[in-house]
C-alpha cells in the first residue's frame, strides 16, 4: 500500500484530500454521513472578525457541469468559531484549516491573531472572495497587494499561512510568486471564477447578488492549468482545487504539481465523493507501483 501522507508546511495530513472551504461547514453535518477523520483535512467555512449574515437568497444557480454561488461569507465570526465549532473539529483527528477573510488589512490581522493560540493547524487566507464587495478580492488581484497582505498575515501568526488565490487575474504565476515573496508557507488555488445566469422569463439574474462564483467540473481544466503554472513558478507547497469530481481529476492535480487537493462543489452531487477520491488515488498509486503519493507530485511531462 502506497504511503498516502502528505506534508504541507510542516503539517502532516494522513492523505491529500481536503474538503474545500464553504462547502463543508465546520464538519458536523457531513459527520452524520461518514467518519470525517478519514479526510486528510477540512478547510472551514470562511471566517471574518465579526458575524456576517451574507447575501439575500437565491444564493445558488446551476450551470452546465457546475454551479454559481453568492453566499457572501455568511459566518458566525471568529470568536464564535473558536468557541462553538473548533473544539468539535479539534477532537476529530483531522487537520483543521481555518479559512480567514476580511475587508481591511486590520480585519485580516486581528482575525488571524485570535487564531494564534487555537487548535487550528493551518490558516488559509482568502484573498479571493468574489461575492463581497470588500471580501478580500481587492487584495488578491495585484502582485503588490498580495505580497503586502501575505507579509502582514505572516507577521501576526506563527501558524502556517496558506494564501488562497483568485483565478480572476491575468497572470496567476505572478500572483503565486508574490505570495511566496511575502513569505507564504503554501498557496491554494483556485477560488471561483466570476459568472452569471439569467432567468429568461423574469429577465432577472438567478442570483440575487446578480453575479457569483463558478465552481464544479466546468472549471476543472482552468484550475488545472493555473495550478500547473503556479507550481512551476514557486517552491512552496501548492494545494490544488477547482472542479475535482473524481479521483482521476485529483491525480491530474497532483501530477500538475499540487501536493494536496481540495474538493468543494462535488460534495453536493455525492456526499461520499472525498472518500471515493481517497480510495481512487490509493488504487492508482498501487497499480502504478508508486511508494508514496508525494512521489507523483509535479511529475507531468509537458511536451
Amino acid at each position: 500500500m502506497a504511503d498516502m501522507r502528505v506534508n504541507i508546511a510542516g503539517v502532516t495530513l494522513k492523505n491529500p484530500v481536503i474538503t474545500a472551504s464553504g462547502t463543508f461547514g465546520f464538519g458536523r453535518e457531513y459527520a452524520r454521513l461518514y467518519d470525517i477523520s478519514r479526510l486528510g483535512g477540512i478547510s472551514c467555512k470562511g471566517t471574518t472578525l465579526h458575524e456576517r449574515l451574507g447575501n439575500p437568497a437565491p444564493r445558488i444557480a446551476e450551470t452546465p457541469a457546475g454551479m454559481l454561488n453568492s453566499v457572501g461569507l455568511q459566518n458566525p465570526g471568529v470568536d464564535a468559531f473558536l468557541q462553538d465549532d473548533l473544539p468539535y473539529l479539534a477532537s476529530q483527528d483531522v487537520v483543521v484549516i481555518a479559512n480567514v477573510a476580511g475587508s481591511t488589512e486590520d480585519e485580516y490581522a486581528e482575525t488571524i491573531r485570535r487564531l494564534q493560540d487555537s487548535a487550528v493547524d493551518i490558516i488559509e487566507v482568502n484573498i479571493s472572495c468574489p461575492n463581497v464587495k470588500a471580501g478580500g478580492v481587492s487584495f488578491g488581484t495585484s502582485p503588490q497587494a498580495v505580497e503586502s497582505i501575505t507579509k502582514l498575515c505572516k507577521s501576526v501568526s506563527d501558524k502556517p499561512i496558506m494564501m488562497k488565490l483568485t483565478p480572476n487575474v491575468t497572470d496567476i504565476s505572478e500572483i503565486a510568486a508574490a505570495a511566496e515573496a511575502g513569505g507564504a508557507d503554501a498557496i491554494s488555488l483556485i477560488n471561483t471564477l466570476t459568472g452569471m445566469r439569467i432567468d429568461v422569463n423574469s429577465r432577472r439574474p438567478i442570483l440575487r447578488n446578480n453575479t457569483g462564483g463558478l465552481s464544479g467540473a466546468a472549471v476543472f481544466p482552468v484550475a488545472l492549468r493555473m495550478v500547473w503554472q503556479a507550481a512551476n513558478r514557486v517552491k512552496i507547497p501548492v494545494v490544488g482545487m477547482g472542479g475535482i469530481t473524481k479521483w482521476q481529476d485529483a491525480v491530474e492535480m497532483l501530477l500538475a504539481g499540487a501536493c494536496a487537493v481540495q474538493i468543494g462543489a462535488a460534495n453536493f452531487t455525492d456526499a461520499y465523493i472525498p472518500l471515493k477520491v481517497i480510495a481512487g488515488i490509493e488504487e492508482y498509486l498501487d497499480a502504478k507501483g508508486e511508494n508514496s503519493v508525494s512521489d507523483i507530485v509535479g511529475t507531468v511531462q509537458p511536451w
Partner: protein
C-alpha cells in the same frame, strides 16, 4: 440520514407535469416524518433536487415522493420508471409536528400540497385541508386528502373547480369557526405570505414550509438562506437545516 440508491416501486402521473414515485427505501422511511424532504440526484446534473416527502409507509418501508417537472433535472427524474433506481440523500430537514391537542388546518398550494397530505394523515381524522390550484387540470391528490380529512375545500384561480379564488378566502372563514386552530401551510411564496399575514391578524399559530434553491441539503453550504426575526434579532437561517418548516411569525417574507 444516509445517501444510497433506492428502487422506484410505483410511478403515477398525477397531472400533465406532476408525478408520484413510491420508493422502496425502508431505511429512509424509518427516519421520516411529515414535512421532511429528500435530496435526489438527477442524472448528470451537478445539484440534487430537494423533493418533499408526501406519504410515509413505515410498515412497507416506502416513501411517496411527488414532484413537478420544472426543468431539465426534474424532466430526467420524470423519465425514470418502475424498477429504476434513484440516488437519494435523506431524510432531511425538521418537518411538521402537528399539535394533536388543537384543531388543525392544512393549507396547500399547487405542488405545495403533497407534504400537507402526509401532515394531515399524521394528525388524524379531524384534519381539515384547504387546497389551491391554478385550474381543474392541476388538481392533485384530492381523493387522498378526502380520505385523510374530515373536511376538504378546493379553490382554483379561474373557478374551473371548487371555489373561485384563493386559499386565504376559505381560511378566513374557517378561522372564524376554529379560532384556536393551528395552521400548517406549503405553497408558493405569495400564498404563504398571505396565509401568514391572515394568521397573524387572527392571532393564530402558523407554520410554513419554505422552498429555496438548495446546494448541499444538509446545512453545510449555507446557500438556501431565509431571513428570520426572533427574540435574539435578525438571522439568516437555512431552509435545508433549520427548515423547511418555520414558525411563520419569524419569517421575513420580503427578505
Amino acid at each position: 440520514m444516509l445517501q444510497a440508491d433506492f428502487t422506484i416501486q410505483r410511478k403515477d402521473k398525477l397531472n400533465a407535469t406532476t408525478y408520484a414515485f413510491t420508493v422502496d427505501c425502508p431505511k429512509l422511511a424509518k427516519e421520516s416524518w411529515c414535512g421532511r424532504f429528500v435530496h435526489i440526484r438527477c442524472g448528470e446534473k451537478p445539484l440534487r433536487r430537494p423533493i418533499s416527502i408526501c406519504e410515509i409507509d413505515k410498515e412497507n418501508g416506502t416513501l411517496t415522493l411527488v414532484f413537478e417537472v420544472r426543468g431539465e433535472g426534474t424532466e430526467w427524474l420524470a423519465s425514470r420508471n418502475e424498477g429504476d433506481v434513484i440516488n437519494i440523500l435523506g431524510p432531511l430537514g425538521n418537518g411538521f409536528f402537528p399539535d394533536p391537542e388543537k384543531p388543525a388546518i392544512f393549507v396547500g398550494g399547487g405542488i405545495g400540497c403533497p407534504p400537507m397530505l402526509g401532515a394531515a394523515q399524521d394528525y388524524g381524522e379531524n384534519a381539515e385541508a384547504i387546497l389551491g390550484f391554478r385550474s381543474e387540470a392541476q388538481v392533485i391528490l384530492l381523493d387522498k386528502f378526502e380520505s385523510a380529512c374530515r373536511r376538504v375545500a378546493v379553490t382554483t384561480d379561474d373557478g374551473s373547480f371548487g371555489t373561485k379564488g384563493f386559499v386565504t378566502d376559505i381560511l378566513k372563514e374557517r378561522l372564524e369557526a376554529l379560532p384556536d386552530a393551528v395552521v400548517y401551510a406549503c405553497g408558493p411564496m405569495p400564498m404563504l405570505k398571505n396565509v401568514a399575514a391572515l394568521c397573524k391578524a387572527k392571532n393564530v399559530q402558523c407554520y410554513v414550509s419554505l422552498e429555496q434553491r438548495m446546494g448541499c441539503g444538509v446545512g453545510a453550504c449555507l446557500v438556501c438562506a431565509c431571513k428570520t426575526h426572533d427574540a435574539d434579532g435578525e438571522h439568516m437561517r437555512h431552509v435545508c437545516k433549520n427548515g423547511p418548516v418555520f414558525d411563520a411569525r419569524e419569517v421575513d417574507f420580503n427578505g
